[in-house]
């Protein structure tokens, strides 16, 4: 038995192996240039002081975590964190509830459901920068009647971004929910109907438990998307309005984490680059944690099936 396992696919393996340079070479080279080297260098630089990367000087042992301490002490960074977290949670709830409702409606064999699906998914094709400008035009068109603008009040910026992202993401999540809903076994629904279950009972007791995997995937996706958001944030408000705190620190009230890292880097401060890179590492740990939790979850599901 064991010997048989060993010989499986050996012919292919042996003959393919020496073609390493052709099959793996280009991807490995690009992967090192485009990911591995920048990643390692990024971690290293988060412990350095530098203006240009080639002149980077490691921080002394007594101050090894200086960049990280500066990052955590930076009021604009903590503000961006809470702002991002709040945005991510609100958008997660709204997008998923609405997307599920639309998907549920579209699987009720309604006429023209294909047209509806086409229209709802369409905003996904438009890039974040362009989306941001389309909506800033619309919001300013409305708000100018009240002689204000989306960049003048942070609550407009927040809800504006939520509306924009709902418009973009509902269609995306809807597609995943439709796939999940179509996979609910017909005989289970039939059984519920015969047993006299009402429509809402069927929905909450049969349908929703069956699409739980889709719900989890969509929740993770909207959470990580929310944390990583950059283009739409930049194009809609770019962090405006800005307030100055008593201590003299400026806080961009609608700035999210990704944008905060970006703007920190172009600060003129001598420690700006190092601090920005430390923020990027913190950001990476946060986002990767969410992503790995999702992967682990989907893996577990695959094993169960």
């Amino acid at each position: 038995m064991k010997r048989k396992k060993l010989t499986r696919g050996n012919t292919i393996r042996r003959s393919t192996r020496r073609w390493f340079p052709l099959f793996l070479g280009p991807v490995v080279a690009a992967f090192v240039i485009g990911f591995i080297w920048p990643f390692i260098q990024g971690i290293y630089l988060s412990f350095c002081q530098f203006k240009l990367i080639k002149d980077a000087k490691p921080l002394g042992l007594d101050n090894l975590f200086g960049n990280y301490l500066r990052a955590f002490k930076d009021a604009s960074f903590t503000h961006a964190f809470w702002y991002t977290a709040m945005y991510a949670v609100v958008s997660l709830v709204l997008i998923n509830v609405l997307a599920f409702a639309v998907a549920y409606a579209l699987t009720q064999s309604i006429k023209g459901s294909n047209i509806f699906r086409t229209v709802f998914f369409m905003p996904n094709l438009i890039g974040g920068i362009v989306l941001g400008y389309i909506w800033s035009m619309i919001f300013d068109g409305i708000l100018s009647r009240f002689s204000t603008s989306i960049v003048l009040e942070s609550k407009y910026g927040f809800w504006g971004l939520i509306i924009l992202m709902c418009w973009q993401q509902i269609g995306y999540m809807m597609i995943i929910y439709i796939a999940g809903l179509q996979a609910v076994p017909e005989d289970m629904l039939e059984a519920a109907r015969i047993d006299g279950a009402s429509k809402s009972q069927t929905l909450f007791r049969v349908t929703i438990p069956n699409v739980m995997p889709s719900i989890t995937i969509c929740m993770f996706l909207s959470l990580t998307n929310g944390f990583k958001l950059f283009d739409q944030n930049l194009a809609l408000t770019a962090g405006k309005p800005i307030i100055t705190q008593p201590g003299g620190t400026m806080i961009k009230t609608t700035e999210m984490l990704a944008l905060n890292i970006y703007t920190t880097y172009y600060n003129s401060n001598i420690n700006a680059h190092g601090t920005a890179q430390a923020k990027a590492v913190i950001f990476f740990i946060l986002v990767a944690g969410l992503g790995l939790a999702q992967l682990a979850y989907t893996r577990k599901k695959e094993v169960q099936q």
């Binding site: 192996r17 073609w19 390493f20 709802f120 389309i134 950001f283």
Partner: protein
């Protein structure tokens, strides 16, 4: 009987609600359409008014004509570079990662396992983590032109593509390739003549995801490209609205319209593949 009638009525109501949402959904695109024909000064004050030909708001095609050259950068150049970058990057990613994924799945040595692990890992790393160092490295290696930036896209985008391809290759029965080998087919021919045709559905899914990513990407080309010479459409639009004090809203809106027309045409023609590809990428990623 009564239940059936009420069921039908419920479906009618549902259809009407969905139609209303549908119209609301299209409105932002319509707003872009009407404002691209409106004189600059009216875009902000009368955003939702329809500019009838001959009315005081009507700008005709002036916005489009002005949009071609304004912002000190020719719009058509940015279209050209967007197309070049998207086509080259997608082609390079499809060829490179499908070959690598087949090798990884079939040879499965320790090195392959490590590489595969790193690919999965790279999928959860946000771009901000590597953006400064990546743009610096790309600059040094002269990867800052539309013809060389695909290497950066291959490097940073390899993760998801390899993940999707490996998943599919593992589901292909080995016997087919073994039969080809027995018939005297070398690995290169086996891959291109036997494996690639079977990979076609995954190729389409991956291709769609990459096209959507690269075409709409802003920060990566913005940091990597030599902006004096090369700009993509997205960068061009960001420059127009971002850094100039007096923005010509009419002309910018006209350019936004021009930039979303190809996207919508692409979507309407390959809709089925796009939705399938996106769903595949989401569930696995």
């Amino acid at each position: 009987m009564k239940g059936l009638a009420s069921e039908r009525r419920n479906k009618m109501i549902l259809s009407i609600i969905l139609s209303v949402i549908c119209i609301i959904y299209v409105l932002p695109v319509l707003a872009v359409l009407i404002n691209s024909f409106k004189l600059n000064t009216f875009v902000k004050t009368d955003t939702f008014a329809i500019p009838l030909p001959g009315s005081e708001m009507w700008a005709g095609v002036d916005n489009f004509v002005k949009g071609m050259t304004f912002g000190e950068y020719p719009f058509w150049d940015s279209v050209k570079y967007s197309v070049i970058i998207t086509v080259l990057s997608t082609a390079l990613i499809l060829v490179g990662t499908s070959m690598a994924a087949w090798y990884i799945a079939r040879v499965n040595s320790l090195f392959c396992k490590i590489l595969y692990f790193l690919c999965v890992f790279s999928m959860v790393v946000p771009f901000q983590m590597v953006m400064f160092t990546l743009s610096n490295t790309a600059d040094q290696l002269k990867l800052n032109t539309p013809w060389t930036i695909p290497v950066v896209y291959l490097g940073f985008g390899a993760g998801l593509a390899i993940f999707m391809f490996v998943g599919f290759v593992k589901s292909i029965p080995l016997e087919i390739e073994e039969a080809a080998a027995i018939d005297g087919c070398g690995p290169v021919r086996t891959f291109f003549m036997v494996v690639v045709p079977m990979l076609k559905p995954t190729m389409i899914s991956v291709g769609i995801l990459e096209i959507m990513w690269v075409w709409n990407d802003y920060l990566l080309p913005y940091l990597v490209l030599d902006l004096e010479k090369y700009r993509t459409i997205t960068i061009h639009i960001q420059y127009l609205k971002g850094s100039y004090g007096t923005v010509d809203l009419g002309a910018t809106t006209a350019l936004i319209l021009l930039s979303i027309i190809p996207v919508i045409v692409f979507y309407l023609t390959c809709q089925k593949h796009i939705i399938k590809g996106v769903a595949a990428g989401a569930v696995k990623g």
